[in-house]
Symmetry: C2
Subunit: 354 residues, 2 copies
């Protein structure tokens, strides 16, 4: 049964590039719950450097990447609030609501495909999207973004320092810098990680019971690997799952779980209907509300919903509490950061009265 429900998909550079890949038979290795590695994978064409990370952080926090200067990457993926905005769906420029709940940026570097529907293969590809999305940051074109940054001498100098040459300030390089910063946003040393590394007292007894339960109940069929979002696949091979599988669950109607067709909304293919990239469990205690539409307010209810919609199981109150205790043991340490000071043009603003 598991083989029928789990997919790994190659996600190309764009929506068009989505390719179906035969379901894989996961070895027990791939299914294990694992501690978070100290470093995420880094693509060969975008090596990390301190200067690049610093530039990426500036861009990540810069609301001038939105048409009216009000929305930055950090507005919805707020690193001060666990990488998300804790809203059902996010709010972009001009008060417009998006269709999906903002996934946390923390540990996104470990995912092999980005966005709820996995339509971006890399963090670099992902970073390019919201800036140009009319209901998110609303910039009309890549050229308009570059035009703004070219009017900010501090950015011109920083891009030249990081990427070299006289064509350093490009949209590709902007995305590379943001992705480099995002690769620093990982949360090690959760109680679970410390437990796995040998500290038997790092998790409560209740959390340990929950850890056994998520395997027995079947949750870890999908939520496994270091990020509890499926195995660590090569970049672009997203780990997808159909949700909901038990479409007769009362929760489906209650929380409108089929109002969005997931990957199908990108590819238009029937086989992609209700297929979603498996989201991480890390820091899930702090990223309410839950699901792609943010319709479920508490983690307890999210556990009940998942058991019923995916595994056709009804959990006891105690089982739910134990699983929630385990999920709380996946809260890691937010990396300490300095507050960036963004480069600024003198005697003028690059934002008008949009």
């Amino acid at each position: 049964m598991r083989k029928n429900r789990m997919f790994s998909r190659e996600v190309g550079k764009s929506v068009i590039g989505v390719m179906a890949v035969a379901a894989l038979a996961w070895g027990s290795q791939a299914l294990a719950m694992e501690p978070l590695p100290a470093q995420p994978p880094v693509p060969a064409d975008n090596p990390l450097s301190a200067a690049k990370i610093e530039l990426g952080k500036m861009l990540y926090f810069d609301p001038r990447l939105s048409i009216d200067g009000t929305v930055s990457c950090n507005s919805c993926h707020n690193v001060m609030t666990n990488g998300t905005d804790n809203r059902p769906v996010s709010v972009g420029v001009k008060g417009q609501k998006g269709g999906r709940s903002a996934p946390t940026v923390f540990n996104a570097a470990f995912l092999s495909a980005q966005f709820w529907d996995g339509r971006a293969a890399t963090l670099e590809d992902q970073a390019k999207g919201p800036i140009l999305n009319p209901i998110e940051m609303g910039m009309p074109s890549e050229a308009a973004v570059l035009d703004r940054l070219n009017n900010i001498p501090g950015y011109v100098a920083k891009f030249a320092e990081v990427f070299g040459g006289d064509k350093a300030l490009t949209y590709d390089n902007l995305a590379k810098a943001i992705a480099a910063y995002e690769r620093t946003l990982i949360t090690p040393n959760s109680p679970f990680d410390r437990y796995k590394r040998g500290d038997e007292n790092a998790m409560s007894e209740q959390a340990k019971r929950g850890m056994k339960l998520v395997e027995e109940v079947g949750c870890t069929a999908c939520h496994n690997g270091p990020n509890f979002a499926g195995p660590a696949l090569p970049t672009g091979q997203g780990f997808f799952q159909k949700f909901p599988t038990n479409q007769n669950s009362g929760y489906v109607k209650k929380y409108d779980l089929m109002g969005d067709t997931g990957l199908h909304s990108v590819t238009g293919k029937d086989e992609d209907k209700f297929m979603w990239r498996v989201p991480t469990w890390r820091n899930v205690a702090l990223t309410a509300p839950y699901f792609h539409n943010g319709s479920v307010k508490t983690l307890e209810e999210a556990v009940r919903v998942m058991a019923d919609t995916q595994l056709n199981k009804s959990l006891s109150k105690k089982e739910v509490a134990d699983i929630v205790a385990f999920l709380n043991a996946l809260t890691g340490e937010i990396p300490a950061q300095t507050l960036p000071v963004l480069p600024q043009p003198v005697n003028m603003s690059v934002v008008g009265d949009q």
Copy 2:
């Protein structure tokens, strides 16, 4: 003539408390341009402490103080972009535009009255306003704010640590903590400050010419003292000025400078028509666009407008450039800060789908 145009006003705890005070004859001391003191005044009933400043910083950055969880104090008074949003007027919840341009929070601690119209006597009073303003942060009541914070255990503990007792989490204490943080937002060591302290090479020759010009032209009649916003008056005695005084200036119509009656819009008194608290010159090179309605895009034009509307003078291109060079010498050092991590409730969010 100066005596007729300049006012110091006692601004009470609320709008209602505004009292006219006779115009004062300023001594030469009060009119001097002065370096920024290392510390701003601190009210006796709100002493600074590290824990209080830390709490205030969390609150300052917390978008959950707005009805839909999208707008924090920092959204409009962004300490990453020189304490403002560099927009003509700010954008609050649900994409609503405010009526005035966000003044910088940097060095606001040196002002003796807050808001463009000076209607708040203290930083504490000011902090209480935008949270409850329907077009800014939109919370319906103080009780609703406290209800949210009471659902975040980390805040409950922090308020108790800072303010003690079992009634530590109050709206007054929230404002006190935010004000304490804001008193750390000062920008020392501008080229002007270093020059005044004896470093003759800290300012360019052009900036030195500009420094003489602002006195000769008459700008420093109002823009004086350590904050270039009038003398350091006792808290609540705002330093007000009529703007525009030369109402026949072509700039008045061009930039709609009389579309807002300033203090009069608060008190309804005829004598308060077009009276405004004198804004700071510090970091003015980085806080475009200019004026209460943010209608003027560049500092050069702002200098021309002020000379014409306030002093009935037309400056040469060279004079404008010299004055702008001096104003650029008032850019200080932004204090280094760590990024706060905001306390969070587990397994739930305190923000709904507003």
